[in-house]
């Protein structure tokens, strides 16, 4: 184990896979000479050369599609899309091609593609650069979407994504890049499609992913210390496939749940989680499922407005307390 940053964990996973398998290559804007907008690929061009660390023109549809085509011939491209906002320009290639090719041609061509891209607001980047639109990809059968919240998962899920024979979108997060945590030194890929109970608890289930899964752990620690509330935290890790059983098993135990998400509430990922809980734990619920999600506005630049629009630890704490109050009102004392 070493304590490293989320950024370093991603870098280590990429570098390790590049060393392990000559078919793995990196492709994207500014990943070589510039060493990556967020420096995940720092040093890679010098080490691996321009064939395996390929700088592209500003043509998201073109280079993402080219990576898909290369994957169809058996290479294992790892595409960097500078931020998830720009993936919209590649939407057709991702949704209509990467996600369809294996099924649409009756299983004849695999697409071992990774798209890594950060989401997240809070950096005062304004409306077009602060979105959380992973849902667009998680909606699509044929895609796999993973969302690491810790350095350990960043490494383990990236390894899994690169070794997987299907298109996998790895959702990184701008606010997580500098966070640190313990990461195993050896390569141990995670299993895509499984959530993790990152904290056991008896009183309430908190379901989250990416940045909010990290927030959930902080909140849980604080509530335990200050109020003796025992929070169970589920980090989804995989948005598609979705590990519904882990969510439902937890809510059947705690009888209430709060979902924390960085995307917009209406039709968002939390809506799917709430529906899952309704389907699988209706008779166990002692309070409505509460969702903490981004305010439904194009994210503003001005700091007070941006801060108000984004879900925070304080919002999570309020939602947890209010949900537990609702439970207390319902339970005969």
């Amino acid at each position: 184990m070493s304590v490293i940053s989320y950024r370093q964990a991603l870098h280590d996973a990429l570098r390790g896979e590049m060393l392990r398998d000559d078919d793995v290559f990196l492709i994207g804007e500014e990943i070589g000479l510039f060493e990556g907008s967020y420096k995940i690929t720092a040093g890679m061009l010098a080490e691996f050369g321009p064939k395996r660390v390929r700088d592209t023109p500003i043509a998201e549809e073109g280079f993402t599609g080219a990576a898909i085509g290369a994957a169809m011939l058996g290479l294992r491209p790892v595409v960097e899309i500078m931020t998830i906002n720009f993936s919209l320009l590649a939407l057709d290639q991702i949704v209509n091609h990467a996600a369809k090719i294996y099924g649409m041609f009756g299983g004849q061509a695999r697409v071992p593609l990774v798209i890594r891209t950060p989401g997240g607001g809070g950096q005062q980047l304004g409306a077009t650069h602060s979105q959380n639109i992973e849902l667009y990809y998680a909606f699509v059968p044929g895609m796999k979407v993973v969302a690491p919240s810790s350095p350990a998962d960043a490494k383990a899920l990236m390894l899994a994504a690169i070794r997987d024979d299907d298109p996998v979108l790895v959702l990184e997060n701008l606010a997580l890049y500098n966070t640190t945590g313990e990461v195993p030194d050896h390569d141990e890929p995670a299993e895509i499609g499984r959530a993790a109970v990152t904290r056991q608890g008896a009183d309430i289930t908190v379901v989250a992913y990416s940045r909010m899964a990290a927030v959930a752990l902080q909140v849980a620690a604080r509530l335990e210390e200050e109020e003796g509330i025992d929070v169970e935290v589920i980090d989804l890790r995989s948005l598609r496939p979705l590990d519904r059983d882990t969510i439902v098993a937890s809510v059947r135990k705690t009888n209430c749940a709060v979902v924390l998400e960085d995307d917009w509430l209406t039709y968002g990922i939390g809506a799917e989680i709430a529906a899952t809980i309704s389907d699988g734990a209706f008779d166990w619920l002692d309070a409505p499922v509460r969702r903490v999600a981004m305010a439904e506005v194009p994210l503003p630049y001005a700091k007070p407005l941006e801060t108000a629009a984004l879900p925070s630890a304080a919002d999570a704490i309020t939602a947890i307390r209010e949900t537990l109050d609702a439970v207390a009102r319902r339970r005969p004392s």
Binding site: F25, K51, T56, P57, A59, E61, G62, F63, T64, G65, A66, A67, I68, G69, A70, A71, M72, L73, G74, L75, P77, D92, Q93, N96, H97, I101, Y102, G103, M104, F105, G106, G107, Q108, A109, R110, V111, P112, P141, G142, K144, D164, D165, D166, E191, I192, G193, R194, S238, P241, L242, D243, R244, D245, V248, T276, D279, G280
Partner: protein, 329 residues
């Protein structure tokens, strides 16, 4: 060679006519776009490829699949949506794929195949292979952003690819002159310093020769844009009566029918006789009749296979729920 072109063209013609009939008999569903009028381009272009080359194309691809050597009964079975279809019944008319013949797909999204084909060429280049990629598309497709992004990338990275623009004068009902500011489509390559040429798509020999030049260039790391000019004898798809076309235009197209014209030419050259013409025709008719019979007898896919092709690498919690089923029993 000359006779082989003719055989191929007649097979495509008869196959497409048979497909149109099967469509009206409701044996075929969805959209169904035919290569009627494109037979010379199909024959000349596919003959110029090596077996190890890769083909990407659009939804108007039955003829290319046949000329690539895929058995007519498997192409027809795909149209019928049966298990023996080239894409196991998952693709239909627009999405034929055959890994063995490196026929890398018909694609239904206009322009979708263009970045993919470019990436296949990137993979060849990455591995230092000698293969080339042929990426077909229609005239209307040259207005899609992905076309321009891809040509730029291919030229920049010197990829082994030939983009073939099959200019049939129309994108659905819109003439080239009404959709492309530069209607001489091959000239669009100049924006990317890419070599290009325009060739008579009604002449299989001319297409073959031009394709050979283009492929040689591509294999040497100089991607190429080849425009073939032909006509679309019928509507955009089987159900389109093409009312936007005047009677005079339609008659001119029929008069320039590439299959008939090529027969006349070979006849004059003494390569074809009346008997041979009749024999080739009977042979093609028999092949497509057998293909239709085969397709009709091929089984429909079992519903139990519905979830077999969502993912190549199996994954826990992959949903296998049918529409009416509860998530939790």
């Amino acid at each position: 060679m000359l006779l082989a072109f003719y055989r191929q063209m007649v097979l495509v013609r008869r196959f497409e006519e048979r497909a149109a009939r099967a469509y009206t008999e409701a044996k075929i569903g969805g959209y169904c776009h035919l290569n009627l009028g494109e037979e010379a381009t199909v024959a000349g272009l596919m003959a110029a490829l090596e077996p190890s080359d890769y083909v990407f194309t659009n939804y108007r691809e039955h003829g290319y699949a046949l000329a690539r050597g895929i058995a007519p009964e498997r192409v027809m079975a795909e149209l019928y949506g049966r298990t023996d279809g080239v894409s196991r019944g998952w693709g239909g008319s627009m999405h034929m794929f055959d890994v063995a013949s490196r026929f890398m797909g018909g694609y239904g999204i206009v322009g979708g195949q263009v970045p993919l084909a470019t990436g296949a060429a990137l993979a060849i280049d990455y591995r230092g292979g000698a293969e080339a990629v042929v990426c077909l598309m229609g005239d209307g497709t040259t207005n899609i952003g992905a076309f321009h992004e891809s040509l730029n990338i291919a030229a920049l990275w010197e990829l082994p690819i030939v983009y073939v623009v099959v200019n049939n004068g129309l994108g659905m009902g819109t003439p080239v002159e009404r959709s492309s500011a530069e209607p001489e489509l091959h000239k669009r390559a100049s924006a990317y310093r890419m070599a290009s040429a325009r060739v008579d798509g009604n002449d299989p020999v001319a297409v073959f020769d031009a394709a050979r030049v283009a492929l040689d260039s591509a294999r040497a790391g100089r991607p190429y844009l080849l425009e073939t000019v032909s006509g679309r004898l019928k509507g955009h798809s089987v159900v389109d009566p093409a009312r936007y076309r005047s009677r005079a235009e339609a008659e001119a197209l029929q008069a320039a029918d590439p299959v008939a014209a090529y027969a006349v030419r070979l006849h004059e050259q003494g390569v074809l006789t009346d008997d041979l013409i009749a024999g080739i025709d009977a042979e093609a008719t028999a092949i497509v009749a057998a293909a239709a019979r085969f397709a009709d007898e091929s089984p429909h896919p079992e519903v139990a296979t519905l979830f077999d092709y969502t993912y190549a690498t199996s994954v826990p919690n992959d949903s296998r729920r049918l529409p009416g089923e509860a998530l939790f029993a």
